[in-house]
Amino acid sequence: MTLTICIGSSCHLKGSKKVAQTFERLIEENNLKDKIEFHATFCMGNCQKGISVGIDDKVYSVTPETAEDFFAKEVLARLGK
């Protein structure tokens, strides 16, 4: 699975770094380094609704507060965890 976080200006100012840190921690905790390709991109064309997070080709809106929840519901669920 490819997990992408937007680090473009708009998402950055909304706190995408916190979301990225949460994801990194959860990937580590769940031992998912082999299953998830996690990387950053500068714009996902969803600036108004950011922070943008992509799972494969689909774009979602996440906040630092919802990041952990999102990871459980969207990422772990897809991986059957």
């Binding site: 976080i5 680090i7 473009g8 200006s9 708009s10 950055h12 100012l13 770094k17 990225a20 990387h39 950053a40 991109t41 500068f42 714009c43 064309g45 600036c47």
Partner: protein, 473 residues
């Protein structure tokens, strides 16, 4: 609201704007014959001896706006017919000469070139004069002046000279493409090649096919430009042109500062590699110092590489104050990553070619880099950033920078370094005085620009380099 410092810039801008407009509308080839009439409608000339010459010069400007002479590797060219062939008499005595008794000018002349006529006025024998300027310095009335062409005066590497026909010519073996002559020529006879047409083609293709994304990488000097609008509106304008997104080159500067500090510790002596005109200056005039040039890419290249490594569909256009970046973009180190380069002048022309009044647009945001990446735009910023990187790493290595603002200062530092035994271990070289904020491609060049850059730096959300880099490493 005034957008440019000079009427020469305004003229160049008008040509760029019309060329860009024609390219957007897919009729550039046909417009080549029409644009001179738009710029110089006539019937009377307003800039030159006659309307025909005026339009002929505009035609040459159109050629430069379309990329200039493809055979010439330099990005800076002389428009010969636009050159006014300014008289260059060197040192001459003006009517201010009082015919005094002291004759200090005569005494100080090392070549015996000065005599006095029957009215006791100084006369310089041109066959003996070596233009050393001692007489001018000695005269208490400042009666002796140096009549040097503005272009020659601006060129600190003596690449501009006079051809046999009296027109300015550029020696490519010496030219470092800094663009100083462009800004100084009062007739606009020296021009940087523009790649505005290539960029428009890239944008049109991206919008039409959706196969590519064009990223604008903007230099931090932008904070002192477009002062009639807000920076956020400039960003909105860039996106409205069809760019996928806008990223701060200052983030590339953060990357460079971080890596360059390691390199400095490892090698013990370095010269910076950010300013392409400074790098070119070392290559051409101090080849013995080439191995001291930092092996780090410039911020433009570092960031463009990062973008392309993460997005295979990316095209990268650097937008900045610099003419030498156009040269750098064509070099092997940059070519795979940087697709084109625009100046702020050209960006203004692009906005207006689409009738985008940016001061009316909503404000977007721009925030990728730290304070330290952003202050690369002004002299001293790079050295501060390298020192900061060392501090953040807890290194006990002490950077002793020699901050060189302008080529004259760069030359002195390099000369000292070649002799050894210097009390600095890092040369920050910027070809433009005060740094990028005085680049030849800036819309305006002013004293307050440095303060603008520092203000913009302080607005960065990330306060340290490691914070700014935390997720791009």
């Amino acid at each position: 609201m005034r957008k440019f410092d000079t009427k020469v810039q305004h003229l160049k801008y008008k040509v760029l704007r019309e060329v860009a407009r024609a390219e957007w509308n897919n009729h550039l080839a046909e417009s080549i014959f029409e644009i001179p009439k738009i710029i110089s409608p006539g019937p009377h000339s307003t800039m030159r001896c006659c309307i025909h010459k005026e339009r002929a010069i505009v035609t040459e400007r159109i050629r430069m706006a379309m990329g200039g002479d493809k055979e010439n590797p330099n990005v800076i060219e002389v428009i010969s017919i636009a050159c006014d062939e300014c008289p260059t008499s060197g040192y001459s005595v003006t009517e201010v000469c009082r015919g005094c008794l002291a004759h200090r000018c005569e005494d100080v002349c090392p070549k015996g070139a000065i005599t006095h006529d029957e009215e006791h006025h100084a006369v310089i024998d041109k066959s003996k004069c070596i233009n050393c300027g001692l007489c001018a310095k000695a005269c208490p009335y400042n009666a002796i002046i140096n009549r040097k062409r503005p272009c020659e005066n601006a060129c600190k590497v003596k690449a501009v000279s006079m051809s046999n026909d009296g027109e300015a010519q550029i020696n490519n073996d010496k030219c470092i493409s800094c663009g100083a002559c462009i800004y100084q020529c009062p007739f606009g006879a020296i021009v940087d090649k523009s790649f505005i047409v290539d960029v428009i083609k890239m944008l049109k293709e991206s919008v039409a096919t959706k196969q590519t994304k064009v990223y604008a990488v903007v230099a931090p000097a932008i904070s002192s430009q477009f002062s009639y609008a807000k920076l956020g509106q400039v960003i909105s304008g860039i996106k409205a042109l069809g760019f996928h997104t806008v990223v701060e080159a200052a983030l590339g500067a953060d990357m460079v500062a971080w890596d360059e500090s390691d390199e400095l510790v490892e090698k013990g002596f370095l010269t910076s590699s950010c300013c392409p005109a400074f790098v070119e200056f070392i290559n051409k005039f101090y080849p013995q110092m080439v191995d001291k040039i930092s092996h780090n890419p410039s911020p433009m290249v570092a960031l463009a590489k990062y973008i392309k490594d993460h997005d295979p569909s990316a095209k990268v256009v650097f937008i900045g104050p610099c003419t030498a970046k156009k040269l750098e973009a064509g070099k092997d180190k940059a070519k795979p990553y940087v697709d084109s380069v625009l100046t702020f002048e050209e960006l203004q022309a692009l906005f207006d070619s689409r009738d985008l009044e940016i001061s009316q647009l909503e404000e977007d945001v721009l925030d990728n880099a730290s304070f330290f990446g952003r202050i690369f735009a002004r002299s001293g910023g790079l050295s501060e950033a390298v020192a900061q990187a060392l501090l953040e790493k807890g290194s006990d290595f002490v950077a002793k920078p020699m901050v060189c603002s302008g080529i004259d200062e760069c030359r002195i530092a390099l000369l000292k370094a070649t002799k050894g035994n210097v009390d600095f271990n890092f040369i920050e070289g910027m070809a433009c005085i005060n740094g990028c904020i005085n680049g030849a491609g800036c819309l305006t060049h002013g004293e307050k620009n440095k303060a603008e850059v520092d203000k913009y730096g302080k607005e960065a959300m990330e306060k340290t380099i490691s914070d700014a880099l935390s997720y791009v490493k």
